[in-house]
Symmetry: C2
């Protein structure tokens, strides 16, 4: 096991994340082997193609970026063979000292949601990652089984809060009608419920172990959120590059929450193709770094 990303026994995900960000920066490289990208890379749209794609992204990111985020849907398209390719990519990423966020957006209740935590967050599982994305349409409390597994294994969970797609407004800005979160938007209630679950060991680390997904171009105010609300909650922020935000805007977009941000980019880096990939990762990492020091 690597020392940079594997951490020490008892170390929380928030502590590991803070260490990785300190040493490698806050760029997260998406591993999104969709059909059009595979074609432009000259790779077949098959399990072998996505395996090769994933391994090349890992290779190009190792030592330069700190974090990768495979989008699991693109592996799922190829059935169990696609998932076998994923296992190889996950293992390679961990061996390369990259922190891996499995972008699976899982959610359910009871033993079903526990099963997802077992799949993605259990040491030794074929799909072991460092963190997973999750969705709380059934309430943050429905994810308690996954959150508990994350805590006990030093893993992280990023729950969808405020995403930047326009169709999301109805749900995410709807107002909670009763209970402790009454009057908050669904997005803000999700953040509050998640923060209320912070463990004691997590509170002692620079960042929490439970994070949120917030689109880079989201206007936090329209969800009743402020950057201060998120200052120690890890924020997985997709939307850089082709989706509209540029790295130079990082301080403006996130303000006080910047230390908690993971800036995720996929297509803008991956479209460089296999030969330009290492340079694209390096250039994106430098841009993020420069923006955050500015």
């Amino acid at each position: 096991m690597s020392t940079l990303t594997a951490g020490t026994p008892g170390e929380t995900f928030g502590a590991r994340l803070a260490r990785v960000v300190e040493e490698r920066g806050r760029l997260c490289v998406g591993i999104d082997p969709h059909a059009a990208l595979l074609a432009s890379w000259g790779l077949p749209d098959s399990a072998a193609g996505i395996r090769e794609f994933g391994l090349r992204v890992v290779e190009a990111s190792a030592g330069t970026a700190g974090i990768v985020k495979p989008q699991i849907g693109f592996f799922e398209r190829h059935g169990s063979a696609g998932f076998a390719a994923l296992e190889e990519v996950l293992a390679a990423a961990r061996a390369a000292e990259l922190l891996v966020i499995a972008d699976v957006k899982r959610g359910d209740v009871g033993s079903s949601v526990d099963a997802y935590g077992q799949a993605w967050l259990t040491p030794g599982s074929p799909f072991e990652a460092d963190a997973m994305t999750a969705v709380a349409y059934q309430g943050v409390g429905s994810l308690d089984g996954v959150l508990a597994q994350a805590s006990s294994h030093g893993k992280g969970v990023f729950v969808l809060a405020a995403t930047s797609n326009p169709e999301a407004t109805d749900v995410q800005t709807a107002r909670v009608q009763s209970g402790p979160q009454q009057g908050r938007t669904v997005a803000a209630a999700t953040v509050a419920e998640l923060q209320a679950r912070r463990t004691e060991s997590s509170a002692a680390a620079p960042l929490d172990e439970f994070g949120v997904v917030v689109g880079a171009t989201v206007d936090l105010g329209s969800y009743g959120l402020t950057p201060e609300d998120l200052a120690r909650t890890p924020i997985l922020a997709p939307g850089f590059g082709h989706q509209g935000a540029s790295f130079v805007e990082l301080p403006t977009l996130f303000g006080a929450a910047l230390p908690a941000v993971i800036a995720s980019a996929s297509r803008s880096i991956l479209s460089a193709g296999p030969d330009g990939l290492a340079a694209a990762v390096s250039s994106a990492a430098a841009e993020v770094d420069a923006a955050c020091r500015a």
Copy 2:
């Protein structure tokens, strides 16, 4: 391909579902190979164990029930080997003329959500099912790619609307603040957005192609929904048996929406063990049938 569940070219999922319900009833048997059930069945907690479990449920359901619902999280726990087992179970279910609802609760945007549709709803895909469950925390519009694929392949999608777990209230009863769904609960807005996407060919069938997940014990009124709202929207209703609702209550619970209900039961049937399974499916199917004729 079977004739009962495969349907005819151009036939919508709603038309197929109505035909299956007419011939086999509205019971849906869950395929939930979780660790405790595997142990009680004398099966190993491994890919081989879940394969055997799944094939036995298919065998016991064939000719008696019309619909099965594998909970994919329990396969995912075992990595790519678990997914290879799932492929065999899905193929066996389709060969046995069972309508298969893949309980995956997927949701995302853009090419990522399209990938999920390709995985679960595309004819010839290793994971081909007849329908999948989905989640719309990013808005029903974020699922448009999946809905379009479903329509073009005669497949179905069941979107989480009102679930029965207590932690879900905050999100699902929150009120939409603006736009065409203003004032509706998130659950009711989800239903309305989904119904607005009904295709012309779907409107001609007895049931819609896009359905919802509504817990059996849910009080529809508290979500601003009535049974009449759902009378032609397929309702996947988990929560029968061990989760609190009994089949005899079906007409009381759903009223005018009863013709659209799929009554899903898992543990109450599966706990009969491999030897009692066929009798448990048969007895549950008879109970559902009797309740719906009452």
